[in-house]
């Protein structure tokens, strides 16, 4: 075997020697050539054909590309990448996590991009919440009173098309709301301005029928029953106990989401439940009532549950002999009621008035006028 010197393959061999080896000078007078290793690497690339390119030059480039990609990717990964997505607003904030009845405000960074709204926890690299903007159905500002500080703060409530309600709090909630709405209108997305929840009580009269009087009312979460493809979930609203019925106003849809006449209520209990695999146990008010299908339970969660329980049980303890009464349906709305109640008081739901009651009312009106 003869050694070779001048073939292409030996070039790298030569360069290894000329650039990295040779006599070493130990003297102060030597010029320090910090750049040499770098020159060496580049030079190898310059001199090399494809095979050595792979070893040096292309590897350098590849390395750079990899790093660039990693940098790019990492940046996006933080908010789970969508190519070409642009961040419009970024703000510290928190997200009201309400899986089941476990609730907590979880801190994170709120990102409003041109496509999505994201709450991201940087330390855990976890997306707490995200939604495409077009999935937002309604937006509301909620004034929440902090129990301990008695200070009010604004929360941004989003009603999603899926029916879920999301509550966010940001460093500047109003700014976030503005930016969100601005972006949504730029995208041509329609949304409902759900009236602020604080203004809610002014509306309550609208669903209380004539002669109906609210005994108790308060903010209350309700476990809605599954509807269609929607699973049961906890929704925010207000619970009202009137002299006629127990009803729950669903804040985001702006309508009564649950109602039962008082005489259907069998009882209520407050219990601690652990609905989800979260460590926190929460108090839940279970109202037991009966309908055509038998006994049912409606669950509520909120404050002062024991007062609700007391109020409800008082009503149940009243000697209402519901079972002995004849059931009938309202001829106008078809809802169930008691025959004598329908006749004497009309329908509590739609305001239908029986001919007998109408005569009575007319008579009393005339009496009043005469006086």
């Amino acid at each position: 075997m003869e050694p070779t010197r001048n073939s292409h393959a030996t070039l790298v061999d030569l360069l290894d020697r000329v650039l990295d080896k040779g006599l070493v000078i130990h003297a102060d007078l030597i010029i320090s050539v910090a750049g040499v290793p770098l020159i060496g690497v580049n030079l190898r690339a310059a001199l090399a054909g494809m095979e050595t390119m792979l070893k040096y030059g292309v590897m350098t480039e590849w390395d750079e590309r990899t790093r660039a990609w990693e940098r790019e990717h990492r940046k996006k990964k933080e908010i789970s990448a969508v190519p070409g997505e642009e961040i419009i607003l970024e703000m510290l904030g928190s997200y009201y996590y309400s899986e089941g009845i476990y609730t907590a405000w979880r801190m994170g960074r709120i990102y409003l991009t041109d496509k999505r709204l994201i709450v991201y926890h940087p330390s855990f690299e976890e997306v707490l919440f995200e939604t495409p903007l077009e999935k937002i159905k309604g937006v509301a500002l909620e004034i929440e009173e902090k129990y301990f500080t008695a200070k009010e703060r604004e929360n941004l409530c989003l009603l999603l098309k899926s029916g879920d309600v999301v509550r966010l709090h940001a460093l500047d909630t109003l700014k976030l709301k503005e930016a969100l709405e601005q972006r949504m209108s730029t995208l041509g997305l329609g949304w409902q301005e759900v009236p602020s929840l604080a203004a809610h009580d002014e509306r309550t009269a609208s669903f209380l029928s004539q002669g109906e009087e609210a005994i108790c009312s308060g903010k209350m979460w309700h476990l809605t029953s599954p509807r269609g493809i929607m699973a049961e979930s906890w929704k925010p609203g207000h619970l009202y106990l009137s002299n006629k019925r127990l009803c729950w106003w669903y804040d985001f849809e702006g309508k009564v989401g649950f109602e039962i006449p008082l005489d259907r209520i069998v009882g209520s209990t407050v219990g601690t439940r652990n609905l989800r695999p979260t460590p926190k146990n929460s108090k839940v008010l279970d109202v037991i009532y009966h309908n055509d299908l038998g006994k049912q339970v409606a669950s509520f969660a909120g404050d002062e549950l024991w007062q609700w329980e007391k109020a409800l049980n008082q009503i149940v303890l009243q000697p209402v002999l519901a079972s002995t009464k004849e059931a009938d349906t309202c001829p106008q709305c078809g809802r169930e009621g008691q025959a004598n109640e329908l006749l004497e008081q009309g329908c509590v739901y739609c305001g239908w008035v029986s001919p007998r009651l109408r005569r009575q009312l007319r008579r009393s009106a005339l009496d009043g006028a005469a006086r």
């Binding site: 075997m1 050694p3 020697r17 080896k21 003297a27 010029i31 750049g35 001199l47």
Partner: protein, 273 residues
């Protein structure tokens, strides 16, 4: 008067500019000789003497050669090698320096003195290095194997691998996958020990034909070939044929190939103290 002032300034500027000496190599010759303008960027290459040794240099500014243009750097390095080769051819023995080694001077003309001082200071060491490499050249020996061929051979010869390979055939698909992972690991381990074994074997065979030997880092695989051995061998110029014959034997082994380069100036054997 004015005119002569100007030339004085110009020559001083030139002197400042040339306050470095770029070193190519050290040879054992007391001969004051000029090679002509064969140096980097056409500089005149000449020898700076101290007793019976000399440094082959050219005059340059006291700053390293640097360029972003790789073609330029390439030309520099090739020129460096050509100058070393020319000196090597002329005197038969050289101590080559690596590219871009420059000795500077603080004042006019002191660079040359600094080179001489360095030669004086290092005289004994340089002399013994010269003696070490006299009449010898450096050769590069790189042994490659075709990983695929070696792995196949191992599968045939290693009882452990063969057993596992046979077991896989009898396993259902899911389990076979697991077993294949194990097989791969086993082959990898066997390959590693095989490589160690080959290294020991080849090294002892090559060592016999070399005056000195340096084990260099192996390079990454190229075209399916893995470098399992990278040596620099210092060999008497007239004895490289014996090394070549030994390498032939290795080259003929199935799956192995050898790259034999040289003769190079003894770059790998002049470094260190």
């Amino acid at each position: 008067m004015q005119y002569s002032d100007k030339t004085e300034v110009a020559s001083r500027a030139e002197a400042i500019e040339e306050q470095g000496r770029y070193l190519y190599c050290v040879v054992d010759s007391g001969e004051k000789v000029s090679f002509g303008e064969i140096g980097i960027e056409g500089k005149e290459v000449y020898a700076i003497l101290y007793r019976d040794i000399c440094a082959v240099v050219h005059n340059c500014p006291a700053q390293p050669y640097r360029s972003d243009d790789q073609e330029v750097v390439k030309a520099w390095v090739m020129t460096h090698q050509k100058v070393v080769d020319a000196a090597w051819e002329r005197w038969g023995t050289v101590l080559p320096l690596s590219f871009d080694t420059i000795i500077k001077g603080e004042t006019e003309g002191s660079a040359e003195r600094n080179v001489q001082d360095w030669l004086k200071q290092e005289y004994e060491g340089l002399k013994s290095k010269i003696e070490k490499v006299r009449g010898k050249a450096e050769y590069g020996v790189q042994v490659f194997w075709d990983a695929k061929v070696i792995a196949e051979n191992l599968t045939r010869t290693s009882p452990e691998i063969r057993k596992l390979d046979e077991e896989i055939r009898l396993k259902p698909r899911g389990l076979a996958y697991m077993y294949r992972q194990r097989l791969e690991n086993l082959i990898k381990r066997e390959m590693e020990s095989k490589a160690d074994e080959c290294f020991k074997d080849f090294y002892s065979r090559i060592r016999k034909h070399a005056d000195d030997i340096r084990v260099e880092k192996t390079k990454k695989a190229e075209q399916g070939l893995q470098m399992i051995m990278n040596l620099s061998c210092l060999v008497y110029k007239d004895r490289y044929t014996e090394l070549g014959e030994e390498l032939d034997k290795i080259n003929q082994l199935e799956g192995f190939s050898v790259r034999f380069t040289g003769p190079w100036p003894p770059y790998s054997f002049v470094g260190g103290a």
